[in-house]
């Protein structure tokens, strides 16, 4: 460490108020560039908001700053000195503390244990519980949680309270730069107010705060400075209030369109509804969602990642317990309590899951076993499987999806990512599903396979299959969908259709901005 500090003295250049500075930072994962030559800095005593679409590079930026991943190129400076972080611990020691979206609390330990996890107060070499409880009480009071007992287990707290404990834990590490990654997404309105007050107080004490959020009104209430990222690049940094909402949206979009999508058919009449969802709710994650899906229709689920789209698909597929509201399929009320029921001939649902490695495939098993897994019941005669029929159908699937394999008996883990995903799709096509739910099906797949999947979806829709398509890639939604339903905070906040499905509208809706304010005519004002 000392070596790098000495070496950095030569390179000391930029302005002094910057607590942390990134210079020419890039990060590649395999062939994918997540951050591209980023120059970025955040000052002491200010709250700095970072904005960007899904995949703009926000999370990679945070991971580099908090020592979770190492940059592929570029340099990092803290208070003008070059440094690097070998681990999250190392970053913490140098004053950078990050509150991640997925909580880092230990559910079975007490609140006090969690707050003091890295540096507990000690007496005679052992953890001093009294002092620890005392410190926890002080920090809990700082974040406005006097009502939490330090001996309470974290597991017994609500998500909103846990997030506040997480902030107390971060404060215990005496941060100089505090990073909050969507830290308010789980908070109740009353707790959000508390967080505002805490953050303003900390800023006034000279802390540097980096704030990632998709809620525009929060950024307006909190931030001093905003930076926009797009496609892994740092686009612009400006003072809050220098730009209107519509200008911010303009900065966030503007990607090159690289894919070719099959043409959408012109509809002359309303499609026959097949799936009718009314007032669907599940805890705080899904709130009063109503949506109708017609035969041959492709409806996209949009919005920023983690607004309830995944839970919505899981709820339809019978994975979640305690879902309220009504689901009708073909006009008949449906009560689906497991994927097994969901795929039955009565409902005819299929779900292509987001993580093919854990929820889609049995990796060590053969291509054959994977493709016929979901429809093995239909292929059975008595107690045995009709292998001739199985082989015939598998061959048809391999041909239809042009899956490249050596032998159907090869383990599916030997295939490329694109072909693996095709196997997952083949598995569900073989069930002859009438409604296909897709959960971000093209993530981490090569361009060629993506094209094939788009073609296939179009063909299925033309055959009358109804498709509900969640994608984190807005471009896909625009290219494939007849309608796009935007999710925000567990609610379906807007439905776009036809010509109004534009990237501008999707981004604005994802930030829950009114569309009128972002129309080009008004932009001129």
């Amino acid at each position: 460490m000392t070596d790098s500090i000495q070496a950095s003295d030569v390179l000391e250049t930029s302005d002094a108020s910057a607590f942390c500075r990134m210079q020419g930072i890039s990060k590649q994962y395999g062939g994918v560039t997540a951050l591209d030559n980023v120059n970025f800095q955040c000052a002491q005593g200010s709250i700095h908001a970072v904005l960007g679409e899904n995949g703009a590079g926000k999370s990679t930026l945070i991971k580099i700053l908090s020592g979770v991943v190492q940059p592929s190129q570029g340099e990092l400076f803290l208070q003008g000195r070059r440094t690097r972080f070998v681990s999250p611990n190392d970053a913490t020691r140098q004053g950078i503390v990050c509150i991640f979206q997925e909580l880092s609390l230990l559910p079975d330990l007490s609140v006090a244990d969690n707050i003091c996890i890295t540096d507990p107060p000690k007496r005679f070499g052992l953890i001093d519980r009294k002092a620890q409880d005392q410190r926890a009480l002080e920090l809990l009071a700082q974040v406005g949680c006097e009502d939490i007992h330090p001996q309470q287990r974290v597991r017994s707290l609500s998500l909103s309270r846990r997030q506040l404990v997480e902030i107390a834990k971060a404060l215990n590490r005496k941060p100089k730069l505090l990073i909050l990654d969507e830290a308010t997404s789980a908070l109740t309105a009353a707790d959000v107010e508390k967080v505002y007050t805490i953050l303003h107080k900390l800023r006034d004490q000279g802390l540097s705060i980096l704030y990632i959020s998709h809620r525009m009104h929060e950024i307006e209430a909190l931030a001093d400075v905003c930076s926009v990222f797009r496609n892994g690049r740092h686009i612009e940094t400006f003072k809050k209030g220098d730009k209107g909402d519509d200008e911010v949206v303009e900065l966030m979009i503007g990607r090159e369109y690289s894919q070719v999508y099959p043409p959408k058919p012109q509809r002359t009449e309303q499609p026959v509804p097949i799936l009718d969802i009314e007032h669907l709710s599940w805890g705080d994650h899904l709130r009063d969602i109503s949506l109708t899906l017609g035969r041959g229709e492709t409806v996209g689920l949009g919005g920023l990642d983690g607004q309830g789209q995944r839970e919505f698909l899981l709820a339809l597929f019978g994975v979640l317990r305690g879902v309220s509201g009504t689901i009708k399929i073909d006009g008949q009320p449906a009560s689906i309590n497991s994927p097994r029921e969901a795929k039955s001939a009565r409902y005819g649902l299929a779900l292509i899951p987001e993580d093919r490695k854990t929820e889609g495939l049995l990796l060590p098993m053969s291509v054959r076993a994977n493709i016929s897994l979901a429809s093995i019941g239909k292929l059975s005669r008595g107690i045995t499987v009709d292998h001739n029929e199985e082989n015939r159908k598998i061959d048809a699937m391999l041909k239809q999806l042009s899956i490249k394999i050596g032998n159907v008996e090869d383990p599916v883990s030997t295939l490329s990512g694109g072909n693996q995903q095709k196997v997952v799709i083949a598995k569900w096509l073989m069930t002859e599903a009438r409604i296909i739910l897709l959960n971000d099906p093209t993530r981490g797949i090569d361009v060629g396979t993506k094209q094939e999947i788009y073609q296939l979806l179009r063909k299925l829709a033309d055959q009358g299959v109804a498709i509900l398509f969640y994608s984190t890639d807005y471009e896909e939604l625009i290219g494939c969908c007849d309608r796009v339903a935007i999710f925000y905070d567990g609610q379906l906040t807007r439905e776009l259709s036809g010509a109004s499905i534009t990237e501008h509208n999707i981004v604005a809706s994802s930030l829950n901005l009114p569309l009128e304010a972002t129309l080009p005519e008004e932009q001129a004002l």
């Binding site: 230990l106 559910p107 519980r129 287990r153 317990r321």
Partner: protein, 331 residues
Amino acid sequence: MSGARMTGLRLWLTHNAGLLLAVLVFVAMFSLYISNHSAGLTVPVLTTAANKAVLLALVAMAQTLPVLTGGLDLSVGMIFILANCIASSIVVGNPFMTALGIVCVLGAGMLAGLINGMIVVYGRLQPIITTLATGAIYYGIALLLRPVPGGDVNEELADFMTYTLFDTVPTSLVLLLVVVLLVWLPFRRSELGRGCYAAGSSEGAAYMSGVNMNRSKLAAYTMAGFLAALAGLLLTFVTFSGEASAPIGNTYTLNSIAAVVIGGTSLYGGVGSAIGSIFGAFILRTIDDLLFVFDLPPLWQPLFQGVVLLSAVSLGALRVLRVRNRLELFR
């Protein structure tokens, strides 16, 4: 402030419900045993019960540590046997030689545990299969050291350890208390101990919080080796000899896991305590004694043990009823 203290007490009760239940069940069972024993509560009855129970209690404490980290140690029974075989050769002679012998036995146990820990931590192998393999190795060594049962031990010390202090308290119980006070409680309150709970609770979150999990896991397995060896030493004092018996080793390993679960420790890790495991071991031992006083054939013992274990596990599985995302049932 008394309100806060009340909350503190209430929280303590909920967090230790498993342990308290085990204590209550044990007290009930042991009272039943004593009230039906022809001799009643006498020092010899208590001492015999204690000597048997403390052996399993120590092995169960050993098992608790790896389980808390989210692992499992199938070699504790074999380390127990290995320590017994080593002790039957070297814990003899004058007080100095005897003391040296004890240090060597405990040292061998710690080394065996440390090897387990290093393979699990640095080799990143699954604890269950690692310790199954190393357990076989430790048993192999025990068999080489003592192909046929035999050996000797310092008789004065053995008598002292297996009889009573001041003619009232069984020495083995005092030993157990000393281990709890000097080993378990400080460990639980150290950063090492907290690291074990953290690793078992959520490895990802513990890593992100900068917890030194490698060090904690190494300590957990090493201490498991130490406690198992201590039990092996006590076994030598009880039997005055060493025997490389695979059935005994395996029985202790499996009973230790049962004791850990009955004592309220979660096999998923992160929740529980070695004190609970002690009472779990006591409960398992009292089952034998109950069968004896009620004149039931000892053949019923496995059946009863099974019923007790199944009830304990069922209590722990109640959380399943609260899961709202069915995918979480499989995680």
